[in-house]
């Protein structure tokens, strides 16, 4: 049975790095893994989506079909709503409560709806809201929010047999290892 994970956020939030750590872990565990990425035209400010599929058998398509994601992990709450059509009826949405306005909001052209989380909760079966950016700041660096969310994802998908500590050590710069290990634990805790 192929599992489908959709990670989404805004450029610069570390979505791609989190997806990279995830796929390394899955590969080392012996799963067949495929990952597909779409990032917008600009380097910054656009939305970013990484789709990860894994299975003990062969994975065919690198892209997820709408209505089939087992979990959506969104690094920004509006991006969860944008991609909500990917979730399966009994899927889980893990969402960072951070709000990043787009250019259209900054100029007053559009309004950032105040009830995005409520809309998610109304629609999806299971929604877990994590204040990951604030928690990361408390740990000393807002950038670790992505690893908090990775921790939550690992816990939600029951992937804790994999040696994530080792993967974190291998992927992040040495001076950030401690921070990211703490962040990972915080993320896991949120899902327990």
């Amino acid at each position: 049975m192929t599992k489908n994970i959709l990670l989404t956020g805004v450029g610069g939030q570390g979505t791609i790095l989190a997806a990279k750590m995830l796929t390394i872990g899955l590969m080392e565990e012996g799963y067949d893994v495929k990952m597909s990425e779409i990032h917008g035209m600009s380097q910054r400010g656009g939305d970013v989506t990484s789709q990860v599929r894994y299975s003990r058998e062969r994975v065919w398509s690198p892209v997820i079909e709408k209505g089939t994601a087992d979990i959506i992990v969104s690094f920004e709450k509006m991006e969860a709503l944008r991609n909500l059509d990917y979730i399966r009826a009994d899927g889980t949405v893990v969402v960072n409560s951070e709000e990043i306005p787009s250019m259209t909001v900054l100029t007053g052209e559009e309004e950032y709806a105040p009830d995005v989380i409520e809309e998610l909760q109304k629609t999806a079966k299971k929604v877990v809201v994590i204040d990951a950016s604030r928690k990361a700041e408390e740990l000393g660096n807002v950038k670790a929010a992505n690893v908090i969310l990775l921790g939550a994802l690992v816990q939600a998908m029951g992937l804790d047999d994999i040696d994530w500590e080792e993967i974190i050590r291998k992927t992040v710069k040495e001076k950030f290892v401690k921070l990211n290990l703490k962040a990972f634990a915080v993320g896991k805790e949120q899902m327990k």
């Binding site: 805004v10 796929t23 390394i24 590969m27 067949d32 893994v33 495929k34 990952m35 597909s36 990425e37 779409i38 917008g40 035209m41 600009s42 380097q43 910054r44 400010g45 656009g46 939305d47 994975v59 065919w60 398509s61 690198p62 892209v63 079909e65 709408k66 209505g67 089939t68 509006m78 709503l81 944008r82 909500l84 059509d85 990917y86 979730i87 009826a89 306005p101 787009s102 250019m103 259209t104 909001v105 900054l106 100029t107 007053g108 559009e110 309004e111 950032y112 709806a113 009830d115 995005v116 809309e119 998610l120 109304k122 629609t123 999806a124």
Partner: protein, 593 residues
């Protein structure tokens, strides 16, 4: 050893293992990472060429000289490289040669959706279509072997999802291939009509042999699960089809797609009650099947454009996608890409967009975003380097029709080196009076910061001679040249005021580095106080007029309740463009830094 690689990384790995010694490319999404990864191998000479034609010709020269060589580019890049490619396909190779084309079904970052398999057909160039990263590696190795066996350049046709998707790849060792001896061979290498007429006949023989090989290529294979439904698919479309048609359908997966394996296709179609062709872009395989007399279903069932992802296939076949949750989509805001805070294009376009009675002929780069709000400062974008020549044509037409409209052309430094130089020669030679603006941000920005002939480094980050744009345009005969800081709005206005009335061509070079660039020592030396300050709004002075918002800077936030603008300190890099726009001087530089 197994690695998780993107298709682009696997192409690079394949080049390495195949013993490639020479690789040339011009950056273009989604092909850019191929050369970036090749450049990591010491064994391979790698270079950014100024454009795809030059890259192709560089690879041709290296093949003639006896080494395995390649060129990689995005689909529209092959248009630029098509001239040498079409004739090199007649000549054949000495060292094996491969061209990699990265097509863009769905046009994520391209101006058109052309199907480059048509080039393979037109040029009688054998072609492989990888479905995943493993095939990228395997096909590269096979392509170089076959290129030397059949004496012809091979094409590898990728699509965005193959380029940018990761999957597991079994990596091997590099096979060193000896350099072949170069011998003068005018019959082969001098494309005179008399020689080409002979080669033209030989090509038909070669294609016949390749057609036989295609029948036995391991990249083409049938999986027979039943005879009710058969699916013929090439590249990644095969995987999409597997998701939707499932285990009951039979498949003919095609990877060697020029020439197509006629016998194999006949046998498959004859066995099946109903045959679907799943392929992205044009009905390339479908038309082949129809020519063989089979009634197959392709573009009558699936859309003739875009990606053939599982949801697209499912909707076409069953009338609906899988059930999705219902929610209020009107709450989803748009998140369009925008010029970064501190982008040196901002100041120029903010002022240029205010000019009346001009036409702005644009080009391909981040700056194409100036076509949209709030700048509305670009009236056309066609292809790389077109700004100057399209602008020239328009100016000539306006002038002769008695229309009083000045044309301003705009393009980036890398785009100027790509094909803008010839266009500017035309402007000088044919006496246009356009104002031409070269946005010199010291790097190739949009594709992710590749070096170029003006940046001072090679793809391997070795120091390189810098082509001086100012000296170059002067040498072409442009007498009115100004180099300005685009963040200085008065300087932008002054340059436009001076050059717009001129009756001869002029060039404005806006010189300030891309805010995302990793600055070189030369950058830090040349540009004083590079992005090292912050600007701030005095809320007492701000009257909420939102004039500064017109610059489109993402660091500016309009607080609706207070009716004041605030600057996001984390994003601001102190370019001062908003400061110059504020009518009440509410924006100042942060002090104490």
């Amino acid at each position: 050893m197994k690695k998780l690689l993107t298709g682009d990384e696997a192409i690079a790995r394949g080049a390495y293992e195949a013993g490639v010694r020479h690789a040339s490319a011009y950056p273009g999404t989604p092909s850019t990472e191929i050369l970036e990864n090749i450049a990591k191998y010491d064994e391979i000479y790698a270079e950014w060429a100024p454009n795809e034609k030059v890259a192709m010709e560089s690879a041709i020269g290296a093949s003639m000289a006896g080494v395995r060589s390649m060129a990689s580019m995005k689909h529209v890049g092959v248009n630029v490289a098509a001239d040498p490619l079409m004739t090199f396909a007649y000549m054949g190779v000495n060292g094996g040669a491969v061209i990699v084309t990265a097509d863009e079904p769905g046009m994520f970052s391209s101006q058109n959706e052309q199907d480059n398999r048509n080039y393979a057909k037109m040029g009688k160039i054998p072609m492989l279509e990888p479905a995943d990263s493993q095939e990228c590696l395997d096909m590269m190795k096979a392509a170089f072997e076959l290129s030397e066996t059949y004496n012809v350049i091979f094409m590898i046709r990728m699509v965005t999802r193959v380029c940018h998707s990761k999957s597991l790849v079994e990596c091997g060792e590099r096979q060193e291939v000896p350099v072949k001896e170069w011998k003068p061979d005018p019959m082969k290498y001098v494309a005179l009509p008399a020689h080409s007429r002979i080669l033209r006949v030989q090509i038909e023989e070669r294609m016949k042999k390749l057609a036989e090989y295609s029948e036995r290529s391991s990249f083409n294979h049938a999986e027979i699960n039943g005879t009710k439904t058969g699916v013929i698919a090439s590249g990644v479309s095969y995987y999409y089809a597997r998701e939707v048609f499932g285990e009951e359908a039979s498949y003919l997966k095609l990877g060697f797609t020029n020439p197509l394996p006629e016998k194999m296709i006949r046998e498959f179609c004859e066995k099946m009650d109903r045959v679907y062709i799943v392929e992205e872009d044009d009905p390339y395989i479908e038309e082949f099947c129809q020519r063989l007399g089979f009634e197959v279903h392709g573009k009558d069932t699936f859309p003739p454009y875009g990606e053939m992802t599982p949801d697209v296939l499912r909707k076409s076949l069953t009338g609906s996608t899988l059930p999705e949750v219902e929610y209020d989509r009107s709450k989803v805001i748009r998140r369009p890409p925008s010029l970064c805070a501190g982008c040196p294009h901002r100041g120029l376009f903010y002022r240029l967009g205010k000019r009346k009675d001009i036409m702005i002929s644009g080009d391909i780069g981040c700056y194409t975003l100036a076509a949209g709000a709030p700048y509305n400062a670009m009236n056309s974008t066609v292809c790389m380097g077109a700004s100057i020549s399209v602008g020239h044509g328009a100016q000539q037409a306006f002038n002769r029709a008695g229309v009083k409209r000045k044309v301003v052309t705009v393009l980036g430094d890398s785009t100027f080196f790509h094909t803008g130089v010839e266009s500017l020669i035309n402007t000088v030679y044919n006496k246009s009076d356009t104002v031409n603006i070269i946005l010199d941000n010291r790097i190739t920005g949009m594709t992710g910061h590749q070096q170029n002939p003006g940046s001072g480094f090679t793809v391997k980050m070795e120091p390189a001679p810098i082509i001086d744009i100012e000296e170059l345009v002067k040498a072409l005969g442009i007498r009115h040249v100004k180099v300005i800081d685009p963040n200085d709005l008065a300087a932008v206005d002054a340059a436009l005021d001076e050059f717009l009335p001129l009756k001869e061509p002029s060039v404005i070079i806006t010189r300030w580095p891309c805010v995302l660039k990793k600055f070189s020592e030369a950058d830090l030396e040349e540009f004083d106080g590079l992005f090292s300050t912050k600007d701030t709004v005095d809320p007492e002075k701000c009257i909420g007029c939102r004039a500064c918002m017109g610059t489109g800077c993402p660091a500016l936030i309009f607080e609706k309740e207070e009716k004041k603008v605030r600057i996001n300190r984390a994003d601001c890099v102190g370019c001062d463009v908003c400061m110059q726009v504020c009518p009440v001087d509410a924006i100042t530089k942060e002090t104490g830094r």
